[in-house]
C-alpha cells in the first residue's frame, strides 16, 4: 500500500485515507522525503482527517517525518487530527511536541505560509 503524495505549487499535500499499518507508514516516510528532494518543495501538509487510530508506533513515524523533513529544509504541518485520536494520544503519553498542527487542510496551508514567511 502506497499513500499518494500530491504536488501543489511548491507544496506537497497528503491525505491519509487508509488504515496505517507499520509498513505503509515506513514506506510513506521514505516516499515523502524522496518527493521533497525531487520536487524541492518547501512545505508539506499531511491531513489525518480520515485516520481513526494513531498508536505509539505510527505517532513516532509521523513525528520523525516532521523532524526529517525539517532537516532537509521543508516544513510539515499535520492537520485534521480527530478528537478521539487527540484524547487517545495524550492518555497514551504521546505529546508530539514541536509538531506544527492545524484544524484542517485550509488552515494547514495558512500555517505553512506563516512558518515559511511567505
Amino acid at each position: 500500500m502506497r499513500i499518494p503524495i500530491l504536488k501543489l505549487y511548491n507544496y506537497l499535500l497528503i491525505s491519509v485515507q487508509t488504515e496505517l499499518d507499520d509498513q505503509t507508514a515506513i514506506q510513506f516516510q521514505e516516499d515523502l522525503l524522496n518527493e521533497i528532494h525531487k520536487t524541492g518543495s518547501s512545505g508539506v501538509v499531511i491531513d489525518l482527517t480520515s485516520v481513526e487510530i494513531i498508536d505509539s508506533f505510527i505517532a513516532k513515524v509521523l513525528g520523525d517525518v516532521v523532524t526529517m523533513s525539517d532537516l532537509m529544509g521543508a516544513k510539515v504541518v499535520l492537520t485534521g487530527i480527530q478528537p478521539a485520536v487527540a484524547m487517545t494520544l495524550i492518555e497514551l503519553g504521546i505529546h508530539l511536541k514541536n509538531v506544527p498542527t492545524a484544524l484542517d487542510l485550509e488552515q494547514g496551508l495558512v500555517k505553512l505560509r506563516q512558518e515559511l514567511g511567505e
Partner: protein, 134 residues
C-alpha cells in the same frame, strides 16, 4: 451473559492491524462511543505490537463481558515469550527497550479501566484488561 472470546494470533506485522480492527468492530457493536472505540483499538494495537516485538508469537483475546449490569470489553494478551523480569520497571512511564516512544504498558493502563499483568521469566506474559462501556 458473556460471549465466547474471539482471538487473533499475533506473529506477523499485519496481525497488529487485524487485532485492532477486530477490537474496534467489537467495541462499536457493544455501543462504545468513538473515543472509547479509539482507546480500546489503540490499547490492542500496543499490546499486539508488544507481542510481535518481544515474544514473536502470541494471542489477543477480545471478549464482550457483562458484570453487575455493566457491559464492557475484555482484552487478554497472552504470549509464550521470554517474560518480563521486572514488571515495575516496564510500568514506568518512558521505559522502553525497543527504542520506541516508551508509551507501552503504562499507556495501555491509562486507556483501559482495569489492568492486570502476570509474567514469568522463560514462560511468558499474560495481560488482562477491561474497558467498561458507559
Amino acid at each position: 451473559m458473556n460471549s465466547s472470546p474471539s482471538y487473533i494470533n499475533i506473529n506477523k506485522e499485519w496481525d497488529i492491524v487485524a487485532a485492532r480492527q477486530l477490537a474496534r468492530d467489537m467495541s462499536k457493536k457493544l455501543g462504545a462511543g468513538t473515543v472509547d472505540q479509539a482507546r480500546i483499538a489503540t490499547a490492542v494495537s500496543e499490546l499486539a505490537r508488544n507481542i510481535y516485538l518481544y515474544a514473536i508469537d502470541g494471542k489477543i483475546y477480545i471478549e464482550a463481558i457483562e458484570k453487575m449490569e455493566r457491559r464492557g470489553i475484555r482484552i487478554v494478551a497472552e504470549d509464550n515469550g521470554p517474560g518480563i523480569p521486572d514488571i515495575s520497571l516496564v510500568m514506568e512511564d518512558g521505559y522502553s527497550t525497543s527504542g520506541g516512544l516508551g508509551a507501552g504498558l503504562p499507556g495501555v493502563k491509562r486507556l483501559m479501566d482495569e489492568f492486570n499483568i502476570t509474567s514469568e521469566e522463560g514462560k511468558g506474559t499474560i495481560i488482562n484488561t477491561i474497558k467498561w462501556v458507559r
